[in-house]
């Protein structure tokens, strides 16, 4: 029976998970591949720490030098699970030059240097696979590249960061402040300390950029993806949202506008019976819409040793199947043989048209609502509902409202003017509304 040799760079959480899947399910995998997948080498700067895998690797296969496996002529597939940008990029490119197929879970690297790597794979005639880079264990890359390949993709929208979703869920269920929910998430191991890239939208934006590359075959300038995190969300906003019939979620959204794309990550209010509104805890869910398939949804655990290991191994199995058949470079990295590669333009955020939730903090004086609604009207924004709450301890009251659709530039202008009013005591909270049309 043919043997497929794998080298793993990075033996942290995901590396250990990958090793565990490969050893635990060895028999099933051999049958699915038609060959034996063997971990021939594992590289990590720290090869002393016990990773708690049930079937410990032979110390002889451990190395602190990634080049040991990149240059090993016996290795067919290099699996990069070290994370980070520069070193990971260097190792992946070197591995490809040496004719290795590459599997990576490195979303930051693909979002920022993806096109260089995609092109290098094609030049080298090797396959690059990255199922684990988006949505953890959810086979979303496969759905985009293969399952919906007959469709013009019209929208990708999803809860792509499990840490943020866990924090928002805790805030909603236990009426916690953002800070208290972060603390709970860190204590329970659901978040790094501090979870900056998770809660500021960067991690979700990385994943969105990768999905855009496949869905639209377009290079995206990652810096142009709008990002706004969940730091400013308060339990009050979550409560008011619920009164209006919405939940608050951190959503990554890409829509095909014809000659431009919408590409944005920010908190949204989403109708409470929308399927994305009911994705709780550390779960991820991605909604894909195609011109023929219509709306589809994919749901599962978006992070963690075991689900991410599952995704990495599904890629290893696909590549191993290629190796067994002595086929190389089967499906191009993005599923397009000639990826347009041209940078597609992202619609400036100012041009977005959507509905809004505003929470204005104002002194409870006569005429304040009339002043505020006057400013909104002058900027072409009409209100669909308002809740005016009783006085709070600081002497100011929250005025919360939902608007009809308006242009982002006008909404921002109106909020600037409102925040300059003497009666307004705090910065107005703005949350966009999504999913009313789904």
């Amino acid at each position: 029976m043919k043997q497929i040799n794998v080298g793993i760079i990075g033996f942290g959480t995901v590396g250990a998970g990958t090793y565990e899947v490969l050893t635990t399910n060895r028999e099933i995998i051999t049958n699915r591949v038609g060959g034996e997948v063997v971990v021939r080498r594992i590289a990590d700067l720290d090869i002393e720490t016990d990773r708690g895998v049930p079937d410990k690797p032979d110390p002889a296969i451990l190395t602190t030098n990634a080049m040991d496996l990149i240059l090993d002529p016996e290795i067919d597939v290099v699996v990069e699970l070290m994370g980070g940008l520069e070193k990971a990029r260097e190792f992946i490119l070197k591995a490809m030059e040496n004719g290795k197929h590459v599997v990576t879970a490195n979303k930051a690297l693909l979002a920022e240097f993806g096109w260089e790597i995609y092109r290098a794979a094609e030049r080298a005639g090797v396959t690059l696979a990255f199922e684990a880079s988006v949505g953890g264990g959810i086979p979303i890359i496969g759905a985009l590249k293969t399952g919906l390949s007959g469709n013009r993709i019209q929208a990708c929208m999803g809860i792509l960061n499990g840490t943020s979703n866990y924090i928002l869920t805790k805030m909603a269920q236990e009426n916690l402040s953002f800070e208290a929910a972060v603390e709970a998430a860190v204590t329970l191991g659901f978040a790094e300390d501090p979870p900056t890239l998770d809660v500021d939208g960067t991690d979700a934006a990385h994943k969105l950029a990768i999905m855009i590359s496949i869905a639209f075959g377009s290079a995206v300038d990652f810096g142009h993806v709008f990002r706004e995190g969940i730091v400013a969300i308060t339990p009050d906003d979550i409560r008011y949202a619920r009164e209006f019939g919405y939940h608050i979620k951190l959503l990554a959204i890409a829509k095909d506008l014809g000659d431009q794309l919408e590409a944005r990550v920010h908190p949204v209010m989403i109708p409470k019976d929308h399927i994305l509104a009911n994705v709780h805890e550390a779960f991820n869910a991605i909604f894909l819409e195609g011109d023929f398939v219509g709306p589809t949804l994919y749901y599962g655990l978006g992070a963690g040793r075991r689900p991410t290991g599952s995704a990495v191994v599904s890629d290893i199995i696909s590549l191993a199947r290629d190796v067994v058949m002595e086929k190389r470079g089967m499906v191009p990295p993005l599923g397009h043989v000639q990826p347009p590669g041209k940078a597609v333009s992202i619609q400036p955020m100012d041009a977005l048209v959507t509905s809004y939730y505003f929470r204005v903090s104002a002194l409870d004086t006569t005429g304040v609502l009339s002043t505020i609604s006057g400013i909104l009207a002058q900027n072409g924004i009409s209100i669909s509902s308002v809740i005016q709450k009783g006085r709070d301890r600081k002497g100011s009251v929250p005025i919360v409202m939902l608007t009809h659709e308006a242009r982002e530039s006008q909404a921002q202008q109106a909020i600037r003017l409102i925040d300059e009013l003497d009666v307004v005591t705090d910065k107005t909270v703005v949350i966009r509304v999504e999913g009313n049309d789904l």
Copy 2:
């Protein structure tokens, strides 16, 4: 640029949808394949009817003889969309013998004669693809064969029949009888007239048998899959279910028990905040659980010209990619190189352990509840809650109850005894409860 020639057998709903995807998205598909996919021949007994596709096929490519395309040496991929068993089986086997890759959406054929066809594909060294056979546009076959390939699959569970789900949704939302909901579904084109195989569970069981083949690599004797339809469900049951906090859905369930499988299709009560309980109208949703990935869910339109066309075309694209690369027989039909093929034994329904909903119709006499609960207790069944309703017009009252977990054989025995009581006026309705542990 390389040309991949496709022949389509059957130009009905799905055939026309497939043709429409291929022509409408020609440019995208060419780029995804790296070659041009050309429909070279379409066979149908009726080539006169206008199928309403936007880009009408040249009459010269239409034929009433499927052998015209099976024997055409220029055709690379044969797409069987005629349905039915004998003729379809014959055409598929002939096409394979002639070296054609085959795409089919024929779930009845694969459920009943799948293993013969899977083996014929391997013998002929061609690829057999059948994404459209389960879940319409949802790429569930890809998820099982590739996306979760590193996992031991522990459970597949889903709403696999859109017609039944549409009927149950209408019954719940509009308080319609089963018959009235069927009539509405037929009128709106959501159901055949009569929709026998949809509402009796056969269609869902076909799809379940196909998923079992991939998930467990096991041949299933389709006749051993337990099937119970939704015909006996009444609006009353839906209302009582709701009072207990459940929705009623027709679910197809397969679970790995180690040396046996559970494989059953029947109505279930499912907790109302379970994600499967919130799949409405003609949507399908499939829940897959693997040992590493954990729970995952896939949701979309399970039938119809456009979604099913999308799935068929995703298979055509995968095969066309193979043809372009001059690779054949890439991934075996079930994703296992050596499918065990041995028939796995399905657990007899009597051995099932689950919770139950019973609706007993009884005369409102003193002691009736005590008699009934006595019979249940003697059969080892304990009640978790009871609702006893007021007298209805026939002088009998419904006694509805939920039980703790019990064995199916004991539940059936108890119900037999209860139905023999003089005070019991009608056959007791039994619905199994699922999803409390998810």
